[in-house]
Homo-oligomer: 486 residues x 2
C-alpha cells in the first residue's frame, strides 16, 4: 500500500519481536547478570557500513543474540542488585510500544490533546496513590509532568527557583546580571545531578553548599539553617534547597519539614528528590516518612522507572505552582502559536522541560497502573523491603561483615569487617560469579557494598542466593577467614 508501512508485515514482525522478548525474559535467570567485556569488543563484530538494501528481521534478532546480549548488563535479571533498579514489566513495555506506534507529539496541548490530558490525569492518580497533598496536583495551580530523569527534574526546579529569586531577571539578562549571588543547598549525600544542574544553569558548581549529614543519613537541618543565615548575612540570595528522600549511597532521608521551614525564612524554593524511595510512599506504612513536609514545598519528584516497573524514561515531577516554571522555560514563536494556548485553558508541557518535543509517555504509566493495579504494586514493594530486611539480618549476624547502617527500604549497605580493601575484594568476587551484581558507594567514610532489591524478576530465592554468593565470596577471601557456613 505504501513504502513505509505494511500492516501485515508489521503484524508478523511485531509478533516475532514480542516472542523474542518473551524468550529473553523467560531465560533471563539462566544468563550471567553481566560478563566481562573488552572495550571495542562489540564494535569489532559489526560491519563498517550500513547496508544499502534491506536485511531480514531474523538477521537482526540473530545479531542481538550473538553480539548484543553477551555485552549487556541485564538490569531486569533476578540477580541484579546494583545501583538502584531501572525496572520495567510488560504493562510498561506495551505502553512504550503503543507510544512508539502512535507516534504523536505532545509538545503542545493542541498537537495531540489526549497526550497532555492523559499525562496530567495519570500524574494526579499517582500523586493520590503516593499520598502527596492535593496542592501538588492539577486541582491547584500546579500539577505533574513526566520528564526523562531526576536530573532534569532538579534542573527544571533550579531554573524555576532561579527565575523566582530574581523576578525573571536572569532568564533575560543572564546570571551576570544578578544583584546578589544566588546560593543553593543540598546534603553532602545528595545526588551528583544537583552539582551538574548548577553548572548547566550558570550558577556554577561551586555555588552548591553541601550541608553535613546527620548520623541517620539525613541532612542536618540545624546546619542548613546556619548556612542559610550566614549566606543571607553575607549578601547572598538563597535560591534553592534540594532535599533528598532516599540518598543514592545509603537511602538516607532528609527532614523535609525542617528543611522547608528553614528555607521559608529566606524565600528559597524547596525541591524534594525522591527518585528511588518515593515509590514506596504507595504503601501507607512508609508514607509518613517519605512525604512528610510536602505541604510546604515547591516541587517533588520520583522515578517510576526506578522502582515502579515503568521503563526508563519516566521521572514524575509535581509542582505546587506551574507559573514560575512556565516563565522560565516557555518560548512561543509564530509556528507554535495556537488558539488553545492563547486561551490559557490548557497545559503546554514543552513549557515545563528543556526539549520542545515529547512522546506519549503517559501511556506506559497508565498501562502499569491499570494492568497491574495499585494493590499488586504495593505488594511488590513490600516483598522487596522484606527480602532486603532478611538479607540485612544475615549481614548483622555475621562477624565477618559490618552492616554500615540500618537497611533503608530495599537497600542494604554493608562492608567486610577487614576494611575497605577487603570490601572491594569481596565485591569483586561476588560480581565475578555472574550470578548477582552489586555496586559500591562510600557510606560513613567507608567503602560499602550496596544491595538494592527491585528487579521485576527477583524472587525471595534470588535474595537468598545473593546471600549464598556473599558467603561463598567470604570463604574464599585471600586473608582466609574460614567459612563457618560451609
Amino acid at each position: 500500500m505504501n513504502a513505509a508501512f505494511d500492516p501485515e508485515r508489521f503484524r508478523r514482525e511485531g509478533r516475532a519481536v514480542v516472542d523474542w522478548l518473551a524468550d529473553y525474559w523467560a531465560t533471563l535467570a539462566d544468563r550471567p547478570v553481566s560478563l566481562p567485556v573488552e572495550p571495542g569488543a562489540v564494535r569489532r563484530q559489526l560491519p563498517a557500513a550500513a547496508p544499502e538494501t534491506p536485511e531480514p528481521l531474523a538477521a537482526v534478532l540473530a545479531d542481538l543474540d550473538r553480539v548484543i546480549l553477551p555485552a549487556l548488563t541485564h538490569w531486569q535479571h533476578p540477580g541484579f542488585f546494583a545501583y538502584f533498579p531501572a525496572s520495567t514489566a510488560p504493562p510498561s513495555i506495551l505502553g512504550e510500544l503503543l507510544a512508539a506506534g502512535l507516534g504523536v507529539q505532545g509538545m503542545l496541548w493542541s498537537t495531540s490533546p489526549a497526550c497532555t490530558e492523559l499525562e496530567t490525569h495519570v500524574l494526579d492518580w499517582l500523586a493520590d496513590l503516593l499520598g502527596l497533598p492535593a496542592r501538588l496536583t492539577s486541582r491547584g495551580p500546579g500539577g505533574g509532568v513526566i520528564l526523562d530523569s531526576a536530573s532534569s527534574g532538579v534542573l527544571v526546579a533550579l531554573l524555576a527557583a532561579r527565575e523566582r529569586a530574581t523576578a525573571g531577571l536572569t532568564n533575560g539578562a543572564g546570571m551576570a546580571a544578578t544583584p546578589a549571588p544566588l546560593t543553593v543547598y543540598a546534603s553532602a549525600d545528595a545526588h551528583s545531578c544537583v552539582e551538574k544542574a548548577l553548572g548547566i544553569a550558570g550558577l556554577g558548581r561551586e555555588t552548591l553548599r553541601r550541608i553535613a549529614v546527620a548520623a541517620d543519613g539525613g541532612l542536618d537541618a540545624a546546619a542548613l539553617s546556619d548556612a542559610l543565615a550566614a549566606d543571607a548575612a553575607a549578601g547572598c540570595r538563597p535560591c534553592l534547597v534540594v532535599a533528598t528522600v532516599g540518598t543514592t549511597a545509603r537511602g538516607g532521608i532528609d527532614p523535609v519539614s525542617a528543611i522547608a521551614a528553614a528555607a521559608a525564612r529566606h524565600g528559597a524554593w524547596v525541591h524534594v528528590d525522591a527518585a528511588w524511595a518515593g515509590t514506596a510512599a504507595l504503601c501507607p506504612e512508609w508514607r509518613a516518612d517519605l512525604v512528610a513536609g510536602t505541604d510546604a514545598i515547591d516541587s517533588w519528584g520520583t522515578n517510576p522507572h526506578k522502582w515502579l516497573q515503568v521503563n526508563f524514561d519516566c521521572h514524575c515531577l509535581w509542582l505546587a505552582d506551574r507559573a514560575p516554571v512556565v516563565r522560565a522555560l516557555s518560548v512561543k514563536p509564530e509556528y507554535l502559536r495556537n488558539a488553545a494556548t492563547e486561551s490559557g485553558a490548557v497545559i503546554d508541557y514543552s513549557d515545563w522541560q528543556v526539549p520542545l518535543g515529547r512522546r506519549f509517555r503517559a501511556l506506559k504509566l497508565w498501562l502499569t497502573l491499570r494492568l497491574t493495579g495499585a494493590e499488586a504494586l504495593r505488594g511488590r514493594i513490600r516483598d522487596h523491603v522484606r527480602w532486603a530486611g532478611w538479607f540485612a539480618e544475615r549481614v548483622a549476624a555475621d562477624d565477618r561483615l559490618v552492616l554500615l547502617c540500618p537497611p533503608s527500604l530495599a537497600l542494604v549497605c554493608f562492608a567486610a569487617a577487614g576494611g575497605d580493601a577487603a570490601t572491594a575484594n569481596l565485591l569483586e568476587r561476588i560480581n565475578a560469579t555472574g550470578r548477582v551484581l552489586m555496586s559500591q558507594a562510600r557510606v560513613a567514610g567507608r567503602t560499602a557494598i550496596r544491595l538494592a532489591v527491585g528487579s521485576p524478576t527477583t524472587r525471595r530465592e534470588h535474595v537468598e542466593g545473593a546471600w549464598d554468593t556473599v558467603v561463598a565470596g567470604l570463604s574464599r577471601m585471600p586473608d582466609g577467614a574460614p567459612d563457618r557456613h560451609g
Copy 2:
C-alpha cells in the same frame, strides 16, 4: 513464575497490542487527521482514581479507541503536512519495543557496554551515509551521540562552547565570574530553542544576536562578521554561532562555510542545527548544500525522528571533539566510578547530556537502517521532495495564491493572494476538512501556510488530495474568488 513477568501472558498481550497498532495504521487514512477537542474533554472521560485491582488489556485498548484516539492529532496520517514530520515506521517501532523490553541502562559504558558501542557505531554509519566528514565520527577525538531533541543538542553545544570560551571557569564559578560578557549568534529565523538554551545556561536570552536573513532565507554572513567584530571590539567574548540548515519557517539554509570562517576569527564554537533538513543529505544530489562547511565546525545535529522514520526521541549530535562536552557535563561520584571509565578507553554517554540515565535508543536507528536499507530511505526522501515540488508548481500557477519562496526540499510555504487575513482563513478551511493538516508561520513578513511532506503513510495521491483541499478552500473563500478549477 514471578509477580511481575509471565512470558506467556506477555506473548499473548504483546500480540494483541501489535495487532491493535497494525489495525490503527491500516485504517489511519480513513480517520480525520485531527478533530476539534474541548479542553478537559479527555479527562472528563477518565475515572478519578487509579484502580486498586488489575484491569484486562482489552479494557485499556477499548479506552484507547473510545477516549484517546478521537483526541489525538495523527502525526503518521497520510494527510499530516503540519510542522515538520515526526515520522516513524515499523523498524523503529520494533527497535523501541526491544529497548523497552531489554530495559538496560546505558549511562556508563560499563553499565551495558553494547548499549554504548552500538550507539557510537551506528552514529558513524549514519555520519558516513550523510556525507559528514570523518572528523565528526568516532575515528577522531569526537563522535556521535543520541539525545532526545535538537533543543538538547543546542544546549549541549552551548555548554561546551561556554566552557571552552572561559577555560572551564563558568562551570565551576558560574556565569557571574566571566571576565567578559559571552555572546551568541544565530539567524533571525533560527529555532526558538536557541533562545531557550541561552536562558537555561545562564547567559540570558537577551545575549542572542539575531543576525539578519538574506533573501534566500539563509543568514547574512557579512552581517554576522560585522556583529562579531563589533562585539569583540566592545569587549565581549563571542562564544557560539548556531547555523541553521533548514529553518523551521521556510527551510532556509545558512551559509555554513562563511559562518565557520567568520566564527574562527573569534574562536567561537560553530554548531549546525540541521534538525529537519539534515536527513536529506542521505541523497548525494542535495548533500553539497546540506553538509557544506562541516570541515570547520564543532558540532552538527539532525533528527532522525523528523524525516528518517525513527520515532521520537532520536536527535543525533556529532562533535569534532568530545573533550569540551565531557568537561562541561561530567560528574563522577563514587557510586559511578568503575575501571573502564578510569582507563579512558570508553565513552560514558551520560557525560554528553543533561540526564544521567539513558535507554537503548541506538536499537531503533540500527533497525531502521538494517531493515529498510539506505537505498529505500533515500527513495522516500526523493518522493517527498518531488511531491512537494509538484505542489509548489500548482501554487505558483494559481493567481489566487502566492508561493512565498521556492520550495525547500519537501517544504512549501504559500499564502493567499488576498493577504494575511485571507491566508489565515484559508488555513482554517483547509484544516477544518480533517483530510489534511497544515501549519502556519511568518515568512518574509507575511503569514504563511506550510506544507511539509514527510509522513510515512503519505503517497503522491495524498499530496494531490492536499492540493484539491486547498482549491476547495479557495473556492469557498468569503471574498468569493471563483473556483476556476471546479
